[in-house]
């Protein structure tokens, strides 16, 4: 009993002093307090954390945004809008999406903001913009090297054409095409200087059209002569035969080859470079047309001195065939009714200028003229043909 009292001071359950006793009454209070403390602590910690987040919010990735903007600006300056527009626009969209994501997160309560997606988007935008700049650089470099290589080829092509033209009788007829092609090169140079490579290539493409026209014209000029080549061949053959038969001298001028041959007894003994009328692609038709006549002539007067062009051999142009052709052309209206047939066609000196420059004469260097005068005098046959496949 005493023990019970000592060890259990609780209220009797079943009444009476000798009944059963429960745990003392202050113990549950302690537990409740503990629970309350735990709950309060559990509430306070997140509250403190939330307060902390409110006071120290996660900062938006403005640095990443600035980087993306900077990269885009650099790409634009490099010409990405022109040479890598697709990639540039993709970077622009990524940057704007990243910016919008930042704005979206900014609109949320501070504790709930999460800029990781925005950061990632802006990182991608930066990378894409840098790629656009790289692509642009690569494209421009490739375009530049391609354009420069094409220009070098085009220059070579022009130089070749210039050489071809300088040796061609048709120069005056077709030079305008060459000049246009040359002008295209000048425009191309200016565009390359302005770093407008695509346009520079277009300019060269236009120039190549002119060169194509030049080639076509030269071909058609060559074909035009096909009908007359038999005549020229016959003239050459007759001149050689006559020279052989008489054992005398003769002069043959091949206009296409720019050559003058001295023939003796049917054999060429000397040849000289000859310069002709500036418009010698055709037969001479009237005075002042700049063409060297084609036909069989003779030296009518030899002028070893007193010529304006060192020494001269006047030939009997116009011959009967020339006169007949001239009248025929006049009648047909091919040439003006007021035009004249021309005269004073000579083989003379003061040549060696490297171009066809006379009004129809044949010009040799003074040295060659000295040699020619040793063999040729009045009465010597002079045959002038545009071209022939038969030579002494």
């Amino acid at each position: 009993m005493i023990g019970n009292r000592l060890f259990s001071r609780g209220t009797a359950v079943n009444g009476g002093p000798f009944g059963k006793y429960r745990v003392p009454s202050h113990r549950p209070n302690l537990r409740r307090r503990s629970k309350i403390l735990i709950v309060v602590a559990l509430l306070l910690i997140p509250a403190a954390y939330i307060t902390y987040l409110f006071l120290n919010p996660v900062l938006p990735p403005m640095g990443a945004l600035d980087n993306a903007k900077w990269a885009l600006e650099g790409a634009a300056k490099a010409g990405a809008l022109r040479y890598s527009e697709k990639t540039y626009r993709a970077a622009e969209e990524q940057m704007q999406a990243g910016w919008m994501e930042i704005a979206h997160q900014n609109g949320r309560l501070a504790p709930f903001r999460d800029y990781r997606v925005a950061d990632s988007m802006l990182g991608e935008a930066y990378q894409t913009a840098m790629r656009a700049a790289r692509e642009t650089g690569q494209t421009v470099t490739n375009l530049e090297s391609t354009t420069l290589a094409e220009r070098a080829d085009y220059r070579d092509e022009l130089a070749n054409w210039e050489d071809a033209l300088n040796g061609s009788l048709a120069k005056l007829d077709v030079a305008r095409y060459y000049k246009s092609a040359e002008l295209s090169l000048a425009t191309c140079d200016r565009l390359i200087e302005a770093r407008e490579y695509q346009e520079a290539r277009e300019s060269m493409a236009l120039g190549r059209i002119w060169l194509q026209k030049l080639a076509t014209s030269l071909n058609s000029y060559d074909n035009d002569g096909q009908g007359e080549i038999r005549t020229w061949r016959r003239w050459v053959q007759e001149t050689l035969d006559d020279s052989r038969a008489g054992g005398g001298y003769a002069v043959i001028v091949n206009k296409s080859a720019h050559k003058l041959y001295i023939v003796k007894a049917g054999k060429a003994i000397k040849s000289f470079d000859a310069e002709l009328g500036y418009n010698s692609a055709h037969q001479k038709t009237f005075a002042g047309d700049g063409a060297t006549p084609e036909g069989k002539y003779q030296v009518s007067v030899a002028r070893p001195r007193g010529s304006r062009y060192y020494k001269a051999l006047l030939i009997n142009y116009p011959n009967d065939a020339d006169k007949h052709r001239f009248q025929d052309n006049k009648t047909k209206g091919v040439i003006s009714a007021r035009s004249h047939i021309g005269s004073l066609i000579e083989i003379h000196g003061e040549g060696g200028r490297g171009k066809d420059w006379t009004e129809g004469c044949v010009a040799l260097t003074n040295h060659d003229m000295d040699q020619l005068m040793q063999y040729v005098g009045a009465g010597t046959p002079v045959t002038i043909v545009r071209k022939s496949d038969q030579w002494p």
Binding site: K69, E73, A76, L81, Q96, W99, M100, I102, A103, H104, Q105, N106, G107, R108, L172, A175, R176, Y177, K179, S180, L183, S184, A186, T187, R190, L191, A194, E196, E199, E202, S203, L206, G277, Y278, N279, A287, G288, G290, T292, G306, S307, R308, Y309, A312, H340, G342, S343, L344, I345, E346, H348, K355, D356, W357, T358, E359, G360, C361
Partner: protein, 211 residues
């Protein structure tokens, strides 16, 4: 009575709040259209700085709007984004106007050059007509005429580029033609001087050859 007044005031405040929180859709659309118009006017090429400012302002306005969209409805305020959209529209209009002005300036520049080139070609043609012709110069003058004739199709090509709005290409072409026309005029002057020199010191028995 007091209760009713309080409710009315509260309702008015809510209405005001809702009124402020209305998204500036019209302003946003207007700003976007203005930017599209500026782009169509090639402002990116002809007024890049102004276009960039306008575009950035539009993006910033969109960001401001998005920020408000993300907020709880009662806390939304689109006043700032609305102002920015209005400003972006104005800036886009300015960029478009600047682009048009710049294009017009380049166009006028090329047109002025076109007139100068025509004048240079006319001068060269006049000089060629007046150039003294002789055996020493006739061939050169014939080639010079060829050079001059070659300018005509080039001018036509430059005009086509100009009409197609390829002002830079047209300008480069006109510059080339101008340089060529001037060099032709110089060549004619040189040929004339050569002829004059030949006249000043005639060779003995100077007879005109190869007529």
């Amino acid at each position: 009575m007091m209760k009713r007044v309080s409710l009315a005031v509260l309702a008015l405040m809510l209405l005001a709040l809702i009124g402020c929180s209305k998204a500036p859709e019209a302003e946003m659309q207007a700003a976007k259209s203005a930017i599209d118009a500026a782009k169509a006017a090639e402002a990116e090429q002809y007024a890049p700085a102004s276009y960039k400012v306008a575009n950035d302002t539009l993006t910033a306005a969109n960001a401001a709007k998005t920020e408000q969209d993300s907020k709880f409805a009662l806390f939304r305020s689109y006043g700032k984004s609305k102002d920015m959209f209005v400003r972006a529209q104005a800036l886009a209009n300015k960029a478009a106007a600047e682009a048009e002005q710049e294009k017009e300036r380049v166009k006028q520049e090329v047109m002025a050059m076109m007139a100068q080139v025509q004048a240079a070609v006319d001068t060269a043609n006049a000089a060629l007509t007046k150039a003294p012709k002789g055996k020493d110069t006739k061939a050169e003058l014939a080639m010079i005429k060829n050079d001059l004739d070659a300018l005509t199709p080039q001018m036509a090509a430059a005009k086509t580029d100009f009409d197609n709005g390829k002002y830079l290409v047209a300008k480069a072409s006109y510059e080339s033609i101008m340089a060529k026309a001037k060099s032709i005029t110089d060549e004619i002057a040189a040929a004339a001087a050569k002829k004059a020199g030949a006249k000043a010191a005639p060779a003995p028995k100077a007879a005109k050859k190869g007529k």
